[in-house]
């Protein structure tokens, strides 16, 4: 089991949401670089499967975005060369590179998100918003495969009864419609059994609780608190222009006040959290393993 994905889904969701939002607002080159590096490392540690093809795809997006900006945007004072009577400026090129990098970093983040947030976890999040919705979704996911299987069975039976010809398109359509109508009847009739089974177990007797296998542990609370402090500080620093960086008309210098450095460090820690978590777990296991191997029993 991986360490990071065993956190409560809500905490994980909040983590991905905060990191994505902050990354999108911080257009500072240092922070973009941090986002790229941590995205790269996280991909390698958490979502290694098939990452080669993904990196090629990301590189393609990067090239397209960085190349597109200077073609369409002619802001900036440092003209590199003139193309079709349009000046291509250094500022526009760098803006494009920054944009491309940021998009790549966010793509990586999204990919890790989909790897970690499985269907179950997303359902749990939606369910915690509304228990009714949770049950509805759960029942739907139960019914779809059931319905599908019955439809396949019905089609096969009808085929073996010789009522299903493949030579004649009209016959085929007629039969498909017939099967659909049979399936509707089947769904309604068998739904009665399900309804009985539900009321027999007290459904509809009043307020329900919503149970889930995911627990909210102490470590989840700790992570959530850390996230809140980090994100709050970073957001405050961004809002107060401590890490302000402008590309146009001329690039400003990279902020390196103590406040800016605090912001970089906190952001870096936040982005690297999954990787650090993973490393910590690996080291812990290695240590435990060596203890087990070195035990007197062996």
């Amino acid at each position: 089991m991986k360490a990071f994905d065993s956190y409560n889904p809500i905490v994980l969701f909040v983590y991905f949401l905060t990191v994505t939002v902050i990354s999108m607002f911080a257009f500072n080159p240092v922070m973009i670089a941090i986002a790229l590096v941590s995205g790269f490392l996280s991909t390698l540690t958490l979502a290694r499967e098939g990452c080669g093809r993904f990196f090629i795809y990301a590189a393609f997006i990067f090239i397209v975005t960085s190349a597109a900006n200077p073609v369409f945007s002619h802001n900036g004072v440092t003209v590199l060369f003139v193309m079709n009577d349009n000046p291509v400026t250094l500022e526009a090129v760098l803006y494009g590179v920054a944009m491309g990098t940021l998009i790549c970093a966010i793509l990586m983040l999204m990919r890790i998100f989909t790897k970690i947030m499985t269907g179950d976890k997303m359902l749990y999040i939606m369910g915690s918003a509304s228990p009714k919705l949770a049950l509805l979704i759960s029942m739907t996911f139960r019914f779809i495969p059931l319905f599908h299987r019955q439809a396949v069975k019905t089609e096969r039976t009808q085929r073996a009864l010789g009522r299903y010809t493949e030579e004649n398109a009209i016959d085929t359509i007629r039969m498909k419609l017939k099967i659909f109508s049979m399936m509707t009847t089947w769904g309604l009739e068998n739904g009665i059994v399900t309804a009985d089974s539900m009321s027999a177990r007290g459904y509809g007797t009043g307020r329900r609780t919503s149970f889930s296998v995911y627990r909210f542990r102490r470590t989840d609370a700790v992570l959530l608190a850390v996230l809140a402090v980090f994100a709050g500080t970073i957001a405050y620093l961004i809002a107060t222009d401590a890490v302000k960086f402008s590309y146009y008309p001329k690039m400003s210098g990279i902020a390196h006040t103590p406040a800016a450095i605090v912001c970089y460090v906190l952001y870096g820690l936040m982005c690297m959290l999954p990787v650090m978590n993973e490393l910590e777990e690996k080291i812990k296991w290695r240590y435990l393993e060596s203890r087990i191997l070195g035990s007197p029993i062996r």
Partner: protein
């Protein structure tokens, strides 16, 4: 302590107010009793069970009283009523509400607004008790039929009911899963002193373990009491006896000669050398219920001077083959494993051929292949001497092959059969109605997949009769089944399908006499004592022959 009391219960459904579905039913159960309710379909068994659960009580006119722990269901609060009586129905699939096993277990507790922490405790406890841990996180859709029904039971038990009501819970299960389910119910009953009320079609397994028996006929109680006494009172009632275990049927057909002609040789008596007379025997104390008791009854009451009947087997039918499998290999996916591995099979025209085998042996696959629904990747299948591949268009399904599938609900295209919706018919009626539809194409080869699943003994008999008529009129019948007793009664020849190939194939009598586990109760009862006994009628005839011989001597 008395847990359940039913007093003069009468009920008529709203749709047929003139017919009393229950007509003055009275009985009482102590805590920890296991009650088996039996009787023919339409006798009021299911109606009675529904009266015990307020949420499921149908519309109609009701009189009399039901008291559960001294309270009538109407007096209970909604939560109390939902939790007090646990109810499991016939169809495992449709009772499951949610997509995950853990969620299904929690569902009932969620409805009662039990706090998260308590749910967690109870769910983990019940999963441990039922051995569900290994599939706890799985989707309910991935489970086998047996697992689904166990899950339904667990999902009800998690609410800690006082009474467990089971309406034909094993009807849709294969024999292994069915006996596993019954074993779990018995375990709950014995370990938790749980009161159980169960309705079953197949009584072979449940009668020996039940404490009490309630026999219903046309809504009236025919007999109620301790199982052995109650079964004893049924002797003479041919119709009800037919659904009883083989041991009971053999006893019923032979007790007159065993009791009157010979003193019973109990082991004690043999030692003392003093034959015991009939009067000081407890009247029904030696009524055998299971295979073990049945065997001891036969061995102690009848000699085996005549070990087998001198019946000449009818000659093996000669002639052409209706269905041939030659080295058939079949798999569903390219990388999957073979489901059929070199299956060889030859079915002659006009015979009834049964293919038996466990779950996953490839039975359903074999019949689907025979019906041309799936194609083998190697080997060939011939129908009436012509390769299936060579049948063009609908040729194979016109006046040639027809198949009755396991799920007969997939057959009904019309919403009305003789004025009734097919879903309103009983299991047995549905089977016969579906068979009628399947026969419309006047097939010469009829293939049936588990035709006796979920139907009672009487419907199975009717089905058997119908199939025999068809075979006599020249139709070849191939049946795939788990139902050993049905196959033993009906089949001309039987084959065992194991691991994708036919491992044995013989005339029915020889087939079942040769098997050790996969055989009828009557055969297991007489193995090594008599030869060639397959049905309880065979056993009865041999007992009588031996009895006659001893009298003459």
């Amino acid at each position: 302590m008395e847990i359940l009391r039913v007093e003069d219960l009468r009920f008529a459904y709203q749709i047929s107010p003139d017919k009393q579905a229950l007509d003055g039913v009275s009985f009482a159960l102590e805590r920890g009793d296991l009650l088996c309710v039996c009787g023919a379909t339409g006798g009021g068994k299911s109606t009675l069970l529904k009266m015990l659960k307020r949420e499921l009580t149908p519309l109609g006119k009701k009189s009399g009283r039901v008291l559960i722990g001294g309270k009538s269901p109407e007096e209970m609060s909604e939560h109390e009523s939902a939790a007090t009586v646990g109810y499991v129905m016939q169809r495992p699939e449709q009772q499951i509400v949610t997509d995950k096993v853990w969620h299904e277990l929690a569902f009932g507790l969620e409805n009662l607004a039990v706090p998260q922490k308590e749910i967690r405790r109870r769910v983990s406890e019940i999963a441990g008790y039922f051995g569900i841990e290994s599939w706890f996180e799985m989707s309910t859709d991935e489970l086998s039929g047996g697992q689904k029904q166990l899950l339904n039971l667990a999902a009800v038990m998690v609410m800690q009911p006082e009474i467990l009501v089971l309406d034909e819970p094993t009807a849709q299960l294969d024999p292994i899963a069915a006996s596993n389910f019954i074993a779990t119910v018995v375990k709950l009953n014995r370990e938790l002193a749980l009161t159980v009320v169960i309705v079953e079609h197949r009584l072979e397994d449940i009668i020996p373990v039940s404490d009490k028996l309630l026999v219903l006929e046309d809504g009236k109680v025919v007999s109620f009491g301790d199982t052995r006494d109650c079964v004893g009172r049924l002797i003479g009632n041919e119709r009800l006896l037919r659904s009883m275990p083989a041991a009971v049927r053999i006893y019923a057909a032979t007790h007159d000669i065993s009791k009157n002609t010979f003193p019973v040789k109990d082991t004690d008596e043999v030692k003392q050398g003093a034959p015991r007379t009939d009067t000081d025997m407890g009247k029904n104390s030696r009524l055998p219920l299971d295979v073990c008791e049945g065997r001891s009854y036969i061995e102690n009451n009848f000699g085996n001077a005549i070990r087998s009947e001198s019946v000449t087997d009818a000659e093996a039918p000669e002639g052409e083959y209706a269905l041939e499998f030659k080295e058939v290999y079949l798999r569903y996916t390219k990388d999957g494993s073979d489901v059929l591995r070199g299956m060889d099979l030859r079915v002659r025209k006009g015979e009834i051929f049964c293919i038996l085998g466990g779950n996953g042996a490839g039975k359903s696959t074999a019949v689907s292949a025979a019906a041309g629904l799936i194609r083998p990747y190697s080997g060939q299948i011939k129908v009436f001497g012509k390769k299936i591949k060579d049948y063009r268009g609908q040729e194979l399904y016109r006046n040639c092959v027809a198949m009755l599938p396991q799920d007969v609900q997939t057959v009904f295209t019309e919403d009305s059969i003789d004025g009734r919706h097919p879903y309103d018919l009983s299991g047995g009626e549905q089977q016969l109605a579906a068979l009628k539809i399947v026969l419309e194409t006047e097939p010469r080869l009829l293939i049936l997949d588990e035709p006796t699943k979920g139907i009672d003994v009487y419907a199975a008999e009717q089905m058997g009769k119908k199939l025999r008529e068809l075979a006599d009129s020249g139709v070849t019948v191939v049946i795939v089944t788990h139902d050993v007793e049905f196959a033993a009664r009906l089949a001309d020849r039987c084959a065992l399908l194991f691991n994708g190939e036919i491992t044995s194939c013989d005339r029915a009598k020889a087939f079942f006499s040769g098997n050790y586990f996969y055989t009828t109760a009557a055969n297991r009862m007489t193995r090594g004592f008599y030869d060639g006994v397959v049905t309880s009628e065979d056993a009865v005839r041999l007992c009588r022959l031996n009895a006659d011989k001893q009298t003459v001597r």
